[in-house]
């Protein structure tokens, strides 16, 4: 070994000068300053955008142009989602369905993130992302069937409204417990990687959901497993009545990626073009470089948390109005689409009329359809009926014969 061998020389030097230490993960530099890493840096993580608040393209925008066809489809889906929300919300108010959750204010995240994916990418949603399903072709009738829990609902009427799921569309069935989907998403992503699929996993979570242990478990797992999973946090300011300042003291969510060794980005969630570009790029990195990505999309929950909530009890109406009107993601994107000459008032009127007509029709159909038959109460607990359930089904059927008046007439026995 030569004494002028440079690696050897470096090692000797660092040993004598004690400037750095070998430690798993790489060399750690020493410092003589007793200094804590600050909890937050002076400058907040910037927010990537393409459009300004009036829907005008920024001069220095970094983005990939989308075609007229894709742009119009994104816009039309945003409108359809908005209208589905207002009509199903009304249906709940009228007592026709038991519960509903709107995505109002978050249409851009819903639709533009979906538009950036391939149909093979697997989605594990929280619950405020029905737009992803809509984009993938889940029909308004299918949405309505789930909300009415009729026999055409793929979940067989077992779950509350809005708990959609579609195996065909690679959209895992929603479950109410917050953040449970996140570590599962890492397992799904690992499988895609092992199968050498040209696909990634996209999983959604709210700002509130980032406080759950499952969120932290999933980021760490994803990093350690080199899993191609894109985490999209919809930071909409609120978790029911809990404001983000009571949820975390970090600069939001994007910054948390750093601690787990995950590349992350903050994006204007109300700018469909920015969301589209971010997710598109994220999935490429995730798939090609086998790494998770964390996206924090800044947005606002314009509606109440759900039909069980009245958000004016805990937040100022001005705040809601500002996000609903001035920062409306649908209006903003419309301006850009219009500025390209791809959309008109006439097209708008036609679209709204057609979607409205369709919605009223699907709701009627869904309402008229029978409920799933009684056998579905016992099916799917396991792959086949074990003894205890067979006994319970027999006994229940006898009870129904004795007391038919106790049971709803719209469930076929």
């Amino acid at each position: 070994m030569h004494c002028c061998d440079s690696a050897f020389f470096d090692n000797v030097l660092s040993y004598f000068l004690l400037q750095e230490m070998d430690f798993p993960g790489g060399k750690v530099a020493f410092t003589s300053k007793l200094e804590f890493i600050p909890g937050n840096s002076d400058r907040r993580v910037p927010c990537y955008r393409v459009l300004d608040q009036y829907g005008r393209l920024l001069n220095d925008a970094h983005f990939e142009q989308v075609s007229e066809e894709v742009a119009v489809k994104i816009y039309s889906n945003m409108v359809a989602l908005q209208m589905m929300d207002s009509i199903l919300y009304e249906a709940q108010r009228q007592g026709r369905i038991s519960f509903y959750v709107t995505s109002m204010g978050e249409e851009a995240i819903n639709i533009a993130s979906a538009a950036a994916l391939s149909d093979d990418d697997v989605v594990l949603p929280q619950y405020r992302e029905p737009g992803v399903l809509l984009w993938r072709g889940f029909t308004l009738q299918e949405f309505a069937n789930q909300c009415f829990g009729n026999k055409f609902d793929y979940g067989k009427g077992r779950q509350m409204p809005i708990h959609y799921g579609s195996n065909k569309l690679n959209y895992f069935t929603i479950s109410s417990p917050i953040a449970t989907q996140l570590p599962q998403a890492v397992g799904v992503a690992y499988s895609l990687k092992m199968d050498k699929k040209e696909a990634c996993v996209v999983t959604y979570v709210g700002d509130g959901g980032t406080s759950e242990g499952d969120f932290h478990a999933s980021l760490n797992f994803a990093a350690v497993m080199d899993a191609p999973v894109v985490f999209i946090c919809r930071n909409n300011g609120w978790a029911i009545s809990t404001h983000i300042t009571e949820q975390f003291r970090s600069d939001g969510v994007a910054i948390k990626g750093r601690a787990y060794g995950i590349p992350s980005i903050r994006v204007d969630g109300n700018d469909a073009l920015a969301v589209y570009n971010t997710v598109k790029r994220a999935r490429e990195i995730a798939i090609n470089e086998h790494t998770p990505i964390l996206i924090e999309a800044l947005t606002y929950r314009v509606g109440s948390h759900s039909t069980s909530d009245d958000s004016t009890k805990y937040r100022p109406i001005d705040e809601i109005e500002c996000w609903k009107m001035e920062r409306n993601p649908v209006n903003k994107f419309r301006k850009w689409v219009e500025s390209n000459g791809w959309w008109s008032d006439e097209a708008e009127v036609d679209l709204r009329a057609a979607v409205r007509k369709k919605l009223l029709q699907v709701i009627q159909n869904a309402e008229k359809a029978e409920k799933p038959p009684l056998a579905e109460l016992f099916a799917d607990v396991y792959d086949s009926l074990p003894l205890n359930l067979r006994e319970q089904e027999t006994e229940l059927r006898e009870t129904i014969k004795r007391h038919p008046e106790d049971y709803p007439s719209d469930v076929p026995v």
Partner: protein, 358 residues
């Protein structure tokens, strides 16, 4: 009942009662009468007010509790006691319970809310491995007895899988915690105050279906009802029915209907499921010779199984029929099939008749 009175006499804090109630108390009568018409939600709210008022080292916290909670049970607390003692937590059940254990270990009353019993499972480790064993594993050097975990449980008619469950049996398998479930507003207030002041960690499940539906005269002041004491709420001779929480009102209707057919039912409210009052149940079964247990949770592995086994051990020769269990089915809690899943009045009535005829 006599034991209940004795416990109450020594342990109860009688403050701010209406005169009428005070007189009732002085004459040694259980505080079952008097007070104002109050629903279960307000009764809980009153108990929390009193707990915060009567002990400056008490805290109320959980998801969305500041603005009053999603069921409004914590309304007004932050205004009166300030945001250092009543506060929202981040959305993290394991955090809520772990934090509560630490707070309690320092000699505070930690009153934690888990928004729905269906969401208590992320905190299961903290409850089962930590809270329950805190005293035992340290040789009683440490304890977290000041911890009370409140959580709404049970069916509501439209809750589906995750807003309906009755997970009490999981917790009844854990030595070191207490499990308490009230049936009515008056019970809720008195039992919750006892749980908060009990020197052991307690899981207190609130029947959310009754928050607004159950209205009862509730004494306005501070009173406690004893833990681990069951109560005979309806006397009878032919069969003993044991239940807790919201299910008792369904069972009561079955008792009324059975009576019309000449069957006299004794109804027992267990109130505390862990550690439970075997003696009261045993005494009743010795009288009636028959036992029926009913709960909303799935029948398999439900707490009814424990009651059944214990009573068969103690009353084998006195039993005139097999112990009947009328419970939830062994399926997840279903949305559209809820009326089929539930242990209804008629299912109970049929089981009463079959047991009496056996």
């Amino acid at each position: 009942m006599a034991a209940a009175l004795r416990r109450l006499g020594s342990a109860a804090h009688w403050r701010g009662f209406s005169t009428a109630c005070q007189e009732i108390n002085k004459s040694g009568i259980h505080p079952q009468h008097g007070g104002k018409a109050t629903n279960l939600c307000s009764a809980i709210n009153q108990a929390l007010h009193i707990a915060l008022e009567s002990d400056p080292r008490s805290y109320v916290f959980g998801e969305d509790v500041s603005f009053g909670g999603v069921f409004r049970c914590t309304t007004g607390l932050v205004d009166q006691f300030g945001k250092n003692r009543v506060f929202n937590t981040p959305l993290c059940e394991q955090g809520i319970v772990g934090f509560g254990i630490g707070l309690a270990a320092m000699g505070n009353q930690a009153i934690a809310e888990i928004q729905f019993a269906d969401y208590i499972f992320p905190a299961f480790d903290q409850i089962v491995n930590e809270a329950a064993k805190f005293r035992y594993r340290s040789g009683n050097q440490f304890n977290c007895g000041g911890l009370t975990i409140r959580s709404p449980y049970g069916a509501v008619g439209h809750g589906g899988h995750y807003h309906s469950q009755s997970p009490e049996a999981f917790f009844c398998h854990v030595p070191g915690i207490k499990v308490v479930i009230p049936r009515s507003p008056r019970q809720a207030k008195g039992l919750l105050l006892s749980c908060i002041r009990d020197p052991n960690p307690v899981v207190f499940f609130e029947p959310k279906w009754l928050y607004r539906q159950s209205i009862e005269q509730v004494p306005e002041g501070d009173y406690m009802l004893p833990l681990s004491e069951a109560e005979v709420i309806r006397e009878g001779n032919d069969i003993t029915l044991v239940g807790w929480g919201a299910q008792l009102s369904v069972m009561e209707q079955a008792c009324v209907d059975a009576e019309k057919e000449g069957i006299s039912c004794e109804l027992v409210d267990l109130k505390t499921l862990l550690p439970w009052d075997k003696e009261t149940v045993e005494a009743s079964v010795r009288k009636t010779g028959r036992l029926l247990i009913s709960h909303e949770a799935p029948v398999t592995g439900g707490f009814g199984a424990e009651i059944s086994a214990s009573i068969v051990e103690r009353c084998f020769l006195r039993l005139e029929a097999p112990v009947a269990r009328v419970c939830g089915l062994d399926t997840p809690f279903p949305l559209v099939f809820e009326p089929f899943y539930l242990p209804t009045k008629n299912k109970i009535l049929d089981a009463i008749k079959a047991t009496v005829k056996y």
